[in-house]
Symmetry: C2
Subunit: 347 residues, 2 copies
């Protein structure tokens, strides 16, 4: 294992290409003003000598890459199908861009690729990582911690050893309580719950909130979903089969509530007259364009993304000169954002 | 400028943490089986010494990172709003994953961030780049070429010096000809065109195809769009104002065709009876769920993404042992895929 690596110099590239050092520097730094023929010579010399621009060498020493990785523990098909992730990325992108830090989104086909994500994080390519949509049996938290890069998680950590992890979440349990209390306040007595994916803490916490208000629900009134519209449809069909007398549904997110609304309409149930429905997220335009428009629990998804990025940037190594607040421990503590019931027509 | 950098060794980290080399190795490589207390000690020593795992050092020498950057020259809001990009990424992700190469999506807020993207590409973090949705006055091609990483472009290069660039495209001009010929074959004589963003070669080529069939169109029958539904709506309103007697529209993509359909319906025009409409892309579910379902020109967007990734991987430096076809020059040549008219109800 060679620990000190002698690398070809900028001068060597200039000599090989027959151009000045300044020209090589402009080409490798992506600056304009070099004729294409010269630039091609430089690139050829760079390639032949295996020259690595100085920025990479410097970043190896300083461990500063001005880049942050985002890892969403879902297949890329889901990342692009669920607007939740686009919203969270919007907040992250705005905050990183404001600090001229590159957002590096690591996409996968699924969990089998997470070891490779861990290798990339270990490889010295980013200053930190933002990781969200974790599932409880996922090896990703261990891989991320093993990679030794500063990390902020989206959502309360649920894995062993996650107690010290920094995270941003919303008050899932309190929001769920507000939803179920609202339904009970409407006089509904047979209130069902379509859960999220129960290997995620957000789903577990919303189920707990449901149980806080209804400590001994009829077990048949709880059906497992997975935060998707299809999962909401399937769960709603099961609920109607098992409990045809239900008069309200709290769905763990707006997408599954939208699926439930479709099944209720197909079954001839009027919403909210026969069955009142409350979602979670206040995901626009899903909630507004639902039929009828959805009463839901609002969380500020974009702000959660922004906060995750801000927390990570504040935790960067000192000496950047751009984050004087680095030492303020309070500003890097985990954050749980409040939620708020938004009334529309479905309940 | 120091070109040979002495870095702390694995042994130094082990000594600092008071653990074995094997333990350090397991932690930095993200492997399981190390107690959290020990792993924490190792991470602290890694941090204090500024140790860089050997993988990073090795990749600096070999220039192999088993990672490929994807750069879409659009703001991230557009990347997540237009399903075209999700489809292209799906093809890219499948191909890269099949070769255990990490997909690194570099997101931006807009063109002002492209210099930073160029720096990341120059920084020795990826083996190559896939770049698409370029606009003609974008500095990105120059930045990418200056970065010296192998690159495959999506869409025919339109910038100066792009003649040698490798790319994957579809037959935009031939597809447009097929669309307009189909409308003419239906007996339509006042055929309008809603263009795409005319700073992109795909839009220019489709306009050329329209002109191939109708060499001297009434200039008022061509309205500029931008590939978005809102752009299609605006262009359709202009067309109806200027040419109320139009009897057909060829829109440069399905999203703008969907916008045009909404405006035609609001104006009381029956499709296809009064106005026949053809789109481009065959983007599902946009085309199928349009009202009426859209006749369009099909291109295989996912396959284009897959081919871009395959072409880049085949062009990687030799010696990987995984791409024996590296030397086959034909397999790294640019590709233009055929298009096909798909008839539904709108024309």
């Amino acid at each position: 294992m060679s620990e000190a690596v002698a690398r070809p110099t900028l001068e060597a590239v200039a000599a090989r290409a027959g151009v000045s050092r300044a020209t090589v520097s402009r080409v490798v730094n992506g600056e304009a003003g070099v004729r294409e023929a010269l630039a091609a010579k430089v690139r050829r010399a760079v390639e032949e000598l295996g020259y690595v621009p100085n920025r990479a060498a410097r970043s190896l020493v300083t461990r500063r890459h001005d880049a942050v990785a985002v890892v969403i523990a879902e297949p890329e098909t889901r990342v692009f199908a669920d607007p939740f992730f686009a919203l969270q990325l919007r907040g992250i992108s705005k905050e990183l861009t404001a600090h001229d830090v590159q957002l590096v989104l690591l996409l996968t086909e699924g969990r089998a690729d997470h070891a490779r994500v861990g290798r990339y994080l270990s490889g010295g390519h980013v200053d930190g990582a933002l990781v969200f949509s974790l599932h409880l049996d996922d090896p990703l938290p261990g891989l991320v911690q093993g990679a030794g890069v500063p990390t902020v998680f989206g959502g309360r950590p649920g894995w062993a050893g996650g107690a010290d992890a920094r995270y941003v979440d919303c008050d899932n349990r309190g929001g769920a309580r507000a939803a179920v209390r609202h339904l009970a306040g409407l006089g509904r007595t047979r209130i069902a719950h379509i859960t999220g994916a129960l290997d995620q803490t957000s789903a577990v916490d919303r189920l707990e909130g449901f149980r806080d208000v209804l400590p001994s629900p009829d077990a048949r009134l709880v059906a497992e979903g997975d935060f998707s519209p299809a999962g909401g449809e399937l769960a709603m069909r099961h609920l109607l089969d098992r409990c045809p007398d239900l008069d309200a549904v709290f769905a763990a997110n707006d997408l599954s509530a939208a699926g439930a609304l479709r099944v209720l309409r197909a079954a001839g149930r009027r919403v909210p007259d026969d069955v009142a429905v409350v979602g979670f997220d206040d995901m626009l335009p899903v909630a507004e364009q639902a039929d009828p428009p959805l009463t839901t629990v609002r969380q500020d998804i974009e702000e959660m993304g922004r906060l995750m990025a801000a927390m990570l940037l504040r935790g960067r190594p000192r000496g950047s000169g751009r984050h004087p607040e680095t030492d303020d421990a309070d500003e890097t503590a985990s954050v749980v954002l409040p939620t708020e019931l938004v009334r529309r027509e479905s309940a």
